[in-house]
Amino acid sequence: MGGSKMDIKTKIASGPIPLWKWIMYAVIMVIVVAAPIYFQSVQNFFFVRIFAVVGIYVMLSLGLNIVVGYAGLLDLGYIAFYAMGAYVGIILGFKLPEVFGSGFEPWTFWTLLPVAALAAAGTGIALGTPVLRLRGDYLAIVTLGFGEIVRIALNNNIFGITNGAKGLPGPGQRIPTPAGMEWAKANLSFGDFAFSKDLFWYYLIVVLCLATIFVVRRLDDSRLGRAWVAMREDEVAAASIGISITTTKLWAFSLGALWGGVAGVTYAYWVGFISPESFNFMESVLVVCMVVLGGMGSIPGAVLGAVIIAALPEMIRYFAQSPLLAGVLTTDQANLASQYRYLVFGAAMVIMMAFRPQGILPSQRRAMELHPEDEKTLAEENQQIWDVEHHTDVDNDLL
């Protein structure tokens, strides 16, 4: 995905994109586009759903990657922006048809998609401003607190519009269907193959993911993207060459939040029911895991991280209980195997980090950078230089 663009950085790092990469991207694209159609046609709705869920997490992961991967700000409350998008989208979704008449219903989602995104971005700025001075893990705990505050406020029916823990839509409320869905259902179904609601949302999510990848890719190479990297590596040095730390951080927060909002409103309209318990701290943690596991600052990494973390436990459960293994495992064993999925998942996270602490697909730019954490490497290099300069490597015991 998204490998068609070339830039100076990749040229320097690896020359022209090798053929196998082109093939790989093509295969991935075919899977992304065609697999859900296949699953839908064989009535395997579970896979269609998982594909779409993964798509939502890809958006979240790419959005958080801007904050954590590029700008190096650990955000443990990212899910708050997701919640913000979802709630703004749903609540205004009830209001808009009231204001513009019911003929507006099909356009509600399309109108609110940018609105919810901007609302989330605005929240990002609102949160970012007071806490910009904070560093590293202090920032992490503040964002964690912020995420919890948002969730609790939603839970307490803040301003009387969130319907508290009971979630939205409440009795008598209805989430409007977006324009295009009915058309797709009517015109894209052939024989046994029914173009379903989930399939519609899936393709919409894919389009949004591609848009996210495109934007993030452009950001990566932009002046702003380079400023983030500079700031991440050394704030003081970055400031000294004229980068405005405040502006740069706020851009990171708001752009990251923006994609959280897009994912939120899409999820809300797709599933059709949201409640505060869907936006808990553990979700934020999982998105951070996606970014770090995939490789911070790397787009393919963020995508892969989302695929692994969102899909792996579900896949384990599915395959354990699927008819494929019906002859191998008894029902009890299958249930047991599916119960072990999170155990395996936790162990896999530990093992993967031990093998690839920089992530599965680390960004090439990051890989080329010096890390202050690599003290051992640095010390060894320094020692070598010193040795060479002072000729201590030869018979130094004699001196």
């Binding site: 806490v131 590293g136 307490n156 895991c289």
Partner: protein, 339 residues
């Protein structure tokens, strides 16, 4: 005997933002708040805070030395409670321990030691397996490893022990004392007392003993400490023993205080204790103690006099305020930027 009258906002009306507002005050009228109630909430808060402080020490010890958030620490709390449950269950078989007051005291001591040692060793093991390979890795890698470990440990208890919430025995003779309308029971006294004693012991240990001094040296400047001949692996192992051992004791206290334990019981206290450590200034032991007690008291007062639904909002809002005005926490030293 209402000694004072304090105006308090609406008690969690769900129709509107339930912080203090004039209309709501008119609707619900005044609430009488006596000194005794405030005192009672302080007792509640300090008890909770004692447990937070014990857990927070584990976060702060590890953070001070390795600069990592040990996400799996909340599972040490949970694990300690389960080991405590088994230890109590085992010792309960012997007449000697249940027969006399002395026997019961000994049973407590043995349970604390067993649970502390088992979980302390588990902590050391986890460091060896999950964190040591990542010591030179990018900063967030150990965080992810810790989250994975946390999930693994929770699931292990869920699958191999029980997914249910199980009752926790309480061998402490029931009893509560009332002073000026404030009642305090034996468990609360034990939790508050033991946590303060443990905190003092740890503080002395860190400031007086050789290994304690080494720990402080490492947290100030790891390289310089290494150059001075400090065995960094040993220091890390000690930190990873003490932190989880204290967390385990907090787990036992929690089990006795609340009467039941569950595989996911560590999560919320873990997050709160980490918050407490940060309020106090992460990496600073006394800061963790202060932060723990402070957070417990804030929560109790917020739940008692504002709204139980918003108590965490108050706690986190205070956290944010503290950090905005004092970015390195209450007792944290402001780090001079190395350029």
């Amino acid at each position: 005997m209402p000694l004072t009258r304090v105006l308090v906002g609406a008690r969690g009306s769900t129709k509107a933002f339930p912080l203090i507002s004039l209309e709501q005050l008119e609707e619900t009228g005044e609430t009488q708040v006596s000194i005794a109630t405030i005192g009672q909430q302080l007792v509640n808060g300090v008890t909770l805070g004692g447990m937070y402080a014990l857990i927070a020490l584990g976060y702060t010890l590890v953070y001070g030395i390795l600069l990592m958030i040990n996400f799996a620490h909340s599972e040490m709390f949970m694990g300690g409670a389960f080991v405590g449950l088994f230890a109590f269950g085992w010792l309960d078989n012997y007449e000697f321990f249940t027969g006399s007051g002395f026997g019961i005291a000994l049973m407590f001591l043995m349970t604390f030691v067993i649970s502390g040692v088992v979980i302390g060793l588990l902590g050391v093991l986890i460091e060896r397996v999950a964190y040591r390979p990542l010591r030179h890795a990018p900063r967030l890698a150990p965080l992810i490893s810790a989250i994975g470990m946390s999930i693994f440990l929770q699931q292990a208890v869920l699958l191999w022990i029980t997914p249910r919430q199980v009752p926790f025995p309480n061998y402490l003779p029931a009893g509560s004392y009332e002073i000026a309308g404030i009642s305090i029971n034996n468990i609360q006294i034990m939790i508050i007392g033991s946590s303060i004693i443990l905190l003092i012991i740890l503080d002395t240990f860190v400031s007086k003993t050789r290994i304690g001094k080494a720990m402080r040296a490492v947290s100030q400047d790891r390289e310089a400490a290494t150059l001075m001949g400090v065995d960094i692996n040993r220091v890390i192992a000690v930190a990873f023993f003490i932190g989880p051992a204290l967390g385990a004791l907090a787990g036992i206290f929690s089990g006795m205080y609340y009467g039941s334990i569950k595989f996911d019981m560590g999560f919320i206290p873990g997050v709160k204790a980490f918050t407490a450590a940060v309020i106090g200034g992460i990496g600073n032991l006394r800061g963790a103690m202060v932060g723990g007690f402070l957070l417990g008291i804030i929560e109790a007062l917020a739940a008692g006099f504002l709204s139980s639904g918003y108590k965490d909002v108050v706690a986190f809002a205070i956290l944010i305020l503290v950090l905005v005005f004092k970015p390195s926490g209450l007792l944290g030293e402001s780090v001079v930027e190395k350029v």
